[in-house]
């Protein structure tokens, strides 16, 4: 455990030194505050809207942004070290290979978690201070921040899987972009196309719900946009929320699987890799 903490601590320190945390935090805070104050602009008003509107806007943005940041952080975590020659040295220490994966992942989760919590938290604090939130809204906002970290962790784990699967950073970068495109954009489009083509003949409601679990971005969307009653009204997903098959706990567990499975696979692949 100590080795994992040491490796994780080194990742956090490196991210502080190379300004990753500051840059990501500022970006997220700027976007969150902008959405908090201008999120109601389409309705003809400018100013802080209800917290639920911010949750809807930020969730939609998070689905694109957080996976991208997570993949950027993680795609070269292993292959980059291998290319620089530092991985061999690290593995020559009395640490197991899975500990290297776990430690670096832990460090990156803290980096992403700090940036998300501080960045989004800034908007939450401002909106709370001006009284735009009640207890249920605050819970929805906290859930959104927490699930954003989990979504980031899932894409970090996918980034690690990419990073141990290839032999050079260029290929890892290309593969990471591919993962982002498929899971954030293409999967939903493909699912929509399938539904239209199928016309409800084969794909039942239950099957559709399960298909959504095959994409962490969709799990996140379901959790935040349909998981809280007031938020689902603003997100236009109240109808979907009524038919949702999975509760919030199940959705969080599904995100947990999306974190654990790729990470475990990455650790196994690294353990078997001939360096």
């Amino acid at each position: 455990m100590n080795a994992i903490l040491v490796i994780g601590g080194a990742e956090i320190r490196a991210a502080l030194r190379n300004r990753w945390i500051i840059a990501a935090t500022l970006l997220m805070a700027a976007l969150a505050l902008t959405l908090a104050f201008l999120g109601s602009a389409p309705t003809g008003t400018v100013g802080a809207g209800p917290l639920e509107v911010t949750v809807v806007s930020l969730s939609s943005l998070t689905i694109f942004l957080v996976p991208l940041i997570a993949l950027l952080l993680s795609y070269d975590a292993i292959v980059g070290e291998a290319e620089r020659g530092t991985l061999l040295l690290l593995l020559a220490y009395p640490v197991a290979r899975w500990q290297v994966v776990a430690g670096k992942f832990l460090g990156h989760v803290v980096v992403l978690g700090l940036a998300t919590t501080l960045g989004y938290g800034a908007a939450g604090v401002v909106l709370g201070a001006i009284g735009a939130a009640d207890a249920e809204s605050a819970l929805a906002f906290a859930g959104m921040v927490g699930s954003s970290v989990l979504l980031g962790a899932a894409f970090l784990a996918l980034g690690y899987l990419v990073s141990v699967s290839v032999r050079d950073r260029g290929m890892a970068g290309g593969l990471a972009i591919g993962v982002w495109l498929v899971l954030v954009l293409l999967y939903d489009m493909a699912l929509l196309g399938l539904l239209v083509a199928d016309q409800g003949r084969t794909i039942t409601e239950a099957a559709f719900n399960r298909l959504l679990l095959l994409d962490p971005a969709d799990i996140y969307r379901l959790f935040n946009l349909a998981g809280f009653a007031k938020v689902s009204l603003f997100s236009g997903m109240a109808g979907l929320a009524e038919q949702a098959q999975f509760g919030r706990a199940a959705l969080l567990a599904a995100l947990g699987v999306w974190i654990a499975a790729p990470l475990t696979l990455a650790a196994i692949l690294l353990s078997r890799k001939q360096l």
Binding site: G9, R13, T86, L91, Y93, P94
Partner: protein
């Protein structure tokens, strides 16, 4: 230069400290590594039944041409490559039975200067000590940095260090857990003469303090200068392992160069019959085996031919000659 402190018993070495130190710092028996075929790559035997004993306290040179198997051997000791067969012990610890303790008994200084630009030497040392599980109270960060001449750069970002400083930092990092065995992989590759001399002095100091050194190098003069024992591997096989002096004695070959007062256009037949050659109009060469040949008759023959000797020099066989002869012979066998 003050030598580094004696390597202290670590978690890895503690059991041995109670029973006495091992005679052999590293012991290999029948060590074999076969890389499986993969895609277009054919299967390759990188190490073929290596038996090798590195005595405790030695500066041991591991030599061999590129691709001979040196890196594979070191990587097996460092736990980076799984051996196919055979046994390997570091400081008496079997690398299969207790890989973590075996790794804790060895420090590796790689050839590449892998330093993280965003960390200071002190932070890197502390990080490495953490990975080796060295308790804070037992860490010797400042002491090691001081000994390696890096004390004034302890808190500077690594990106500001010169190449020589980075090289010394790599050595310092490998010493954080006081390993009884230190592997230096091409430590002076591409460094200038002054730094080379500094590093040699530091290697000697560490060895004097009790650390067994395993050195790989392409500079044969470096091996000859530093190492008291040398092993040569080629095509995955051990082709020589002896003291440096004994290896040098293996090749019974010396060259005598005779500078003449008056240049000669052709070599007198009497001298040619003895085996002398005319290198230049004013210089004769004579190759001989010192164990078999006396020089008196040769010098007398030169004088008898009417030539006056201005100067004499002899060239001893060096390790490069030994290395080339052994590896060429091995190449013919292979």
């Amino acid at each position: 230069m003050t030598p580094l402190a004696q390597p202290r018993p670590t978690a890895a070495t503690a059991p041995l400290a109670a029973t006495g130190l091992p005679d052999q710092a590293v012991a290999l028996r029948g060590l074999t590594k076969v890389y499986r075929s993969s895609g277009r790559m054919k299967a390759k035997t990188a190490l073929d039944g290596i038996d090798l004993a590195i005595p405790r306290g030695a500066i041991f040179g591991l030599l061999g041409p590129n691709g001979a198997g040196k890196s594979t051997l070191i990587n097996i000791l460092a736990g980076l490559v799984l051996k196919t067969a055979g046994r390997a012990e570091i400081w008496g610890i079997d690398i299969d039975a207790d890989p973590r303790q075996a790794r804790a008994a060895i420090g590796v200084v790689p050839q590449e200067l892998n330093v993280d630009a965003f960390f200071t030497p002190r932070e890197m040392m502390e990080l490495q000590a953490g990975l080796y599980g060295v308790p804070r109270a037992e860490r010797r960060t400042d002491e090691i940095l001081e000994r390696l001449g890096l004390a004034d750069k302890a808190d500077a970002y690594a990106r500001t260090l010169s190449g020589g400083m980075r090289r010394r930092l790599m050595v310092a990092k490998a010493m954080v857990h006081s390993p009884p065995v230190l592997v230096l992989d091409e430590p002076t590759a591409g460094v200038d003469v002054e730094l080379r001399q500094q590093l040699w002095a530091q290697v000697r100091a560490m060895n004097a303090a009790g650390t067994t050194i395993l050195l790989t190098t392409h500079y044969l003069d470096e091996a000859e200068e530093l190492c008291d024992r040398i092993a040569i591997i080629d095509h995955g096989r051990l082709i020589a392992c002896d003291t440096t002096a004994a290896l040098l004695r293996q090749v019974d070959d010396k060259t005598l160069s005779v500078a003449l007062v008056e240049p000669v256009a052709a070599l007198p037949p009497a001298l040619s019959a003895l085996g002398l050659t005319l290198e230049a109009p004013g210089r004769l060469l004579y190759r001989y085996g010192p164990s078999r040949t006396r020089l008196d008759p040769v010098l007398a023959a030169i004088r008898a031919a009417g030539l006056t000797i201005r100067d004499l020099t002899t060239k001893e066989t060096d390790l490069e000659e030994v290395f080339l002869r052994l590896t060429r012979a091995e190449g013919k066998v292979a």
